[in-house]
Structure formats: structure tokens, C-alpha cells
């Protein structure tokens, strides 16, 4: 490869490190870099830290899980979005295009409606996302068409609309004082409730899905070609498509189940990463993972600190994502003409 990707990876890594440091140190209870280093070093080596107990608690119990969750979810959504943009040959696609988010949303609001515990709600959301995408895939495969990709995307839009109606119905029936605020909060996305016990159910699916996507990154360039061309190059496109969709759905559903619906990350970050390391998926996938972790850490730090109350993540990502999307569209217009 002629153009070196090293500067791009350096920028992405810098964003991730900056995101990590800011997320640990900034907030209502500021922590100095020295204290952070002290506590993390002590934790890593098993020594007793010398920093005050309150600082330790803020770093390890309050911010630690949240930082890890933000980094993981940001990386997961960015990798899934990158894979989907390649698979669907469209740079304006996000990881929930096949209904992962709307399925998870219906699962979660149902869990809240039936007054289930937090783990049951997360399990419902996770299952909802997987079932929705499986249904979209099954319906899309039944329709015999020349362009299976287009059918899949359109099926995703239609099924997503139906699931959205389901979410609307559950909200309409929900208790407006207890359940409705919880549903709204969840639908807007937040990491404020992230705890150590959340990390394992998040980490497992994200690790598996991301590992599959990263392992397949060498084939993603050819998978972004028209179907027949990719097959003529020797790729079993049907099986590969299922693997990529399944892996991306796994990480998206796990993320949504933990943090609610956080839109736009999977759309915006792949583009930023592409501008850093170019469109070659072999570099783009790892670069998007690194950058996505940093991006969501920065957004989550803003969400915690921008106002007296926490701003839902979905609101912030949308406020940043919408102008970005319009800018992208304007750029495509220039290319078309």
C-alpha cells in the first residue's frame, strides 16, 4: 500500500487516549491525572493506592465501568457501521438499518411495560434486536430478486416501521408516571446506569462479533462490489453476507441492550475513519474501532458535563450527526455532477 496509514492510526489512537483521560478526569468530581495514574497503576499491580478513597471510588466504581462501556459500545457501533456500509455499498448506511435498534427498542419497552428487572429488560432488548434482523433476513431471502441487497434494505425499512408502531403502542398503553419516563430515557440512550455487572454481557457479544468482522476485513473490499462481481472473484457471497450481518447485529444488539438507542455513531465514525486511513476495509475496520471508542467517550463526557442534568446520548449524537449527514449528502451531490 502506497499511502501510509500510520498518521491516520496515530490520530485515531490520540482521540481514544484523549477520550479515556477526559472521561476519567472531567466531571462533577474532578480527578487529577496524577491520581488517575496512581489508582490505575495500583490496581494493575495489586498494590494499595495512595490516593484518597473517594478518588478511588470515582475512578474504579463510578467512572471505570462507564468508560469501558462507552469505549466498547463506540467501537462496536463503528465497526458494525463500517461493515454495513461496505456490505450495502452505501456510505449512508448505519448498523441498525436492518432493524436491530427498532427490534431492541420494542423488546426493551415491553420489558419496562411488564415491570421486569434491568437484566430482563436488557435480555429482551438483545433478543428483540436479533429477532428483528433474523426476520428481516428471512423475509428478504424469500423475495426472489436480482438485487438481494436492495430487497434486504427495503425489508429492513418496512419491518422497522412496523416495530416502531409496536413501540408506539406500548408507550401509549404504559403508565405515564412510572413507565413512560423510563421508556423515553431508554429510547434516547444513556450510559449513566452502566455498572460492572453490565460489562460482561456487553463484552462477550461485542468481542465475538467484532472479532468476526475484523477477521473478515480483507474480504470486505470485494464484498462491497456488485453481487455477481464478488462471486466471480471467488467469494461465497451468501454465506459471507450472513456472517457479516450476524456479527454486526450481535454487537449492535448488545450495545443497544446496555445503553439504549445511540444513533449516528455507526454512520459518522466510519466516515471520519475513512478520511483518516482511506476506504480500504483492511485498515478501515480497525481504525473505525479505535476512533469509535474515542468518539463515544468524548460524547459521553460532554453528556455528563455540558449541563446540570445529564443529556441523553442519543440527543447529542443526533445534534452532531445530522449536520454531518447533510454535509455528506452535499459532498455526494458534487461527485454526481
Amino acid at each position: 500500500m502506497s499511502r501510509s496509514a500510520a498518521p491516520g492510526f496515530a490520530v485515531a489512537t490520540f482521540v481514544l487516549i484523549a477520550g479515556l483521560l477526559l472521561a476519567f478526569t472531567v466531571g462533577r468530581y474532578p480527578v487529577s491525572l496524577g491520581d488517575l495514574a496512581n489508582v490505575l497503576f495500583a490496581k494493575a499491580t495489586g498494590h494499595a493506592p495512595t490516593a484518597p478513597a473517594a478518588v478511588q471510588s470515582v475512578i474504579l466504581d463510578v467512572r471505570g465501568p462507564r468508560v469501558l462501556a462507552a469505549a466498547l459500545i463506540g467501537a462496536a457501533l463503528a465497526v458494525a457501521g463500517t461493515a454495513f456500509q461496505g456490505l450495502f455499498r452505501n456510505p449512508l448506511v448505519s448498523p441498525d438499518i436492518l432493524g436491530a435498534s427498532s427490534g431492541a427498542a420494542l423488546g426493551a419497552v415491553l420489558g419496562i411495560y411488564f415491570s421486569l428487572g434491568i437484566f430482563a429488560i436488557q435480555a429482551f432488548a438483545f433478543a428483540g434486536g436479533l429477532i428483528a434482523v433474523a426476520a428481516v433476513y428471512a423475509i428478504g431471502s424469500l423475495v426472489r430478486a436480482r438485487d438481494p441487497i436492495l430487497v434486504l434494505v427495503l425489508t429492513g425499512v418496512v419491518v422497522g416501521a412496523l416495530l416502531g408502531a409496536g413501540v408506539g403502542l406500548v408507550k401509549y398503553l404504559a403508565d405515564p408516571y412510572n413507565q413512560l419516563p423510563a421508556m423515553t430515557f431508554w429510547l434516547l440512550g444513556s450510559l449513566s446506569a452502566a455498572s460492572v455487572s453490565d460489562l460482561l454481557p456487553l463484552f462477550g457479544p461485542v468481542a465475538v462479533g467484532a472479532a468476526v468482522l475484523i477477521a473478515l476485513r480483507w474480504r470486505m473490499n470485494a464484498m462491497s462490489l456488485p453481487e455477481e462481481e464478488a462471486r466471480a472473484l471467488g467469494l461465497a457471497t451468501g454465506a459471507l453476507r450472513i456472517a457479516i450481518v450476524a456479527a454486526a447485529t450481535l454487537v449492535t444488539s448488545a450495545s443497544v441492550a446496555t445503553a439504549g438507542i445511540i444513533g449516528w455513531v455507526g454512520l459518522v465514525v466510519p466516515h471520519l475513519a475513512r478520511s483518516l486511513v482511506g476506504p480500504d476495509f483492511a485498515r478501515l475496520v480497525p481504525a473505525a474501532a479505535i476512533l469509535g471508542g474515542g468518539y463515544l467517550l468524548l460524547i459521553d463526557t460532554l453528556a455528563r458535563t455540558l449541563a446540570q442534568i445529564e443529556i441523553p446520548l442519543g440527543i447529542l449524537t443526533a445534534v452532531i450527526g445530522t449536520p454531518f449527514f447533510i454535509w455528506l449528502l452535499a459532498g455526494m451531490q458534487r461527485n454526481w455532477s
Binding site: E228, E229, G234
Partner: protein, 255 residues
């Protein structure tokens, strides 16, 4: 090696495009598929590539049924050069040609040193090595066609199948492409191409296969098959034949 379709019925799930088609291609020769739009050229081409299943009949590749090859094995024997398109992503020329090596590594492997060497060699063969790091989306149509040809050659195939390779090229690049096609046959490849221009078949092909409304109306050496009456029957339009008095080379004018 031989790629041969016998008594093929071709088409899509909802309609039949052609029936009773026999077609054969040996390594080292160029076969041109000619015929009006909608006559089944592209369908026949994709059927021989194994991209569309034949509705009836049998396709043999090297004495074995085409269906018995895996997609990967097939891609190491037959390569496909689609009509030039501008991709969604601005991959570099080198990355595009490297995609031709997909069937050589395993599913998870990075390009090997040999993959890169083959890529470099085919880029040099077509004189486009200087474009290696340029985005595929920002080169000319003629260069793009050569890149797709280089990608096909990077598959190290026995057969190369091209869908209207001259369609979007200017006059000079059409000539260059036909020379490259002849050179491919000389280096032992079997080449199958579709074209709208009988002159291109005369220039580049050994044999021509005339396809009208899904039926073969003639097949044979270009000098015998590409005759005025034959072309008028094929296209349903008047055709004039010109001959260069010095070289004896023939050309056709429509209308």
C-alpha cells in the same frame, strides 16, 4: 482446457431468454458474442460464468460439470470483467487489482507476498503500474477498463469473460483493448466477450457467435460468419461492407 455449454436453456426464474444453445470456448482462442440488445448475450455470458444457473442443459469445464466446482475453484479458472462502473468507495487501483486474489488466500488471510507480486506484475503488463496508488474513481474510463482486466488476470485464470469491454471507451482505447485481448489469447487464455460492434469481433476474435432472440443463428470463424447478409439478418437493418484494397481488411458500416 475447454469451457462448453450443451443444449442450454438460459434465463431467470420468471422467464426464459434462450433455448437450445451450444457454445464452446478453448483456451488460446477469442470468441465474440454478437447480437441485438435483449437477444441473450449477457445472460448466456453469466450462465457460462456460473453466475446464473442454466435452466436446462449442461456446462462442462475441463471435462467436469461447472456446478461441481466451488465458487473459489471456479474463480481460479474463469475470471469475469464486468462493464466498467464507478464503485461506491474510492479504493486505490492496487486495492482493486488485489481483489482479484480473493480466491487464492483463505477467507481471513491478508494479501501474501505472492498476491502483491502478481498484482504488481499484471499492473505492469497493462502499463498502469504508475496508477497503483490512485483512487479507482479518479482515473479515465480507458484506464478503469484496464484495471478491471488486470484484476481478472490477477485471478490467474484460464478463461476471461468480458461483458461489452469496448462500450465506454474512446476510439484509441478500443484499439488498445482489442490488442490486449489478442495478447491474452496468445498467452494461452480463452477469451469470451460480448460486443455491439462486428468490427471489434473482426479485429479481436477468432470466432463469432451470433445470437438473436435467444437462438444461435450462426457460429464460426469471424471471416466466414461476419458477412453482410448474415449481419443484416442478425440486426434486422441494412449493412454496408467496406474492404481496404491494400490489406484486404474488411469493415462494416451500419445503415
Amino acid at each position: 482446457m475447454k469451457l462448453e455449454g450443451r443444449d442450454l436453456t438460459i434465463g431467470y426464474s420468471d422467464h426464459v431468454v434462450g433455448r437450445g444453445l451450444d457454445v464452446a470456448l478453448e483456451t488460446g482462442e477469442v470468441l465474440a458474442l454478437l447480437g441485438p440488445n435483449g437477444g441473450g448475450k449477457t445472460t448466456l455470458l453469466k450462465t457460462l460464468l456460473g453466475l446464473i444457473k442454466a435452466k436446462a442443459g449442461d456446462i462442462q469445464l475441463g471435462g467436469k460439470s461447472l456446478g461441481a466446482y466451488s465458487i473459489r475453484e471456479r474463480a481460479r479458472i474463469i475470471a469475469y470483467v464486468p462493464q466498467v462502473h464507478i464503485g461506491t468507495f474510492a479504493f486505490t487501483v492496487e486495492a482493486v487489482v488485489l481483489m482479484g486474489r480473493s480466491a487464492h488466500g483463505n477467507l481471513f488471510s491478508a494479501p501474501s507476498a505472492r498476491d502483491r507480486a502478481v498484482t504488481q506484475a499484471v499492473l505492469e503488463r497493462f502499463g498502469i503500474a504508475r496508477l497503483a496508488s490512485r483512487p479507482y474513481t479518479q482515473i479515465s474510463g480507458g484506464e478503469r477498463q484496464l484495471v478491471l482486466l488486470a484484476r481478472a488476470l490477477a485471478q490467474e485464470p484460464q478463461f476471461i469473460v468480458l461483458d461489452e469491454p469496448t462500450a465506454s471507451l474512446d476510439f484509441g482505447n478500443q484499439g488498445k483493448l482489442m490488442r490486449e485481448i489478442r495478447a491474452l489469447a496468445q498467452s494461452g487464455h480463452g477469451v469470451l466477450l460480448t460486443t455491439h460492434d462486428p468490427n471489434h469481433a473482426l479485429r479481436a476474435a477468432d470466432r463469432a457467435y451470433l445470437l438473436r432472440e435467444g437462438a444461435r443463428i450462426a457460429e464460426g470463424p469471424v471471416g466466414e460468419v461476419l458477412e453482410r447478409a448474415q449481419l443484416e439478418a442478425l440486426y434486422g437493418a441494412p449493412v454496408e461492407r467496406l474492404t481496404d484494397p491494400q490489406t484486404g481488411a474488411a469493415a462494416f458500416l451500419p445503415g
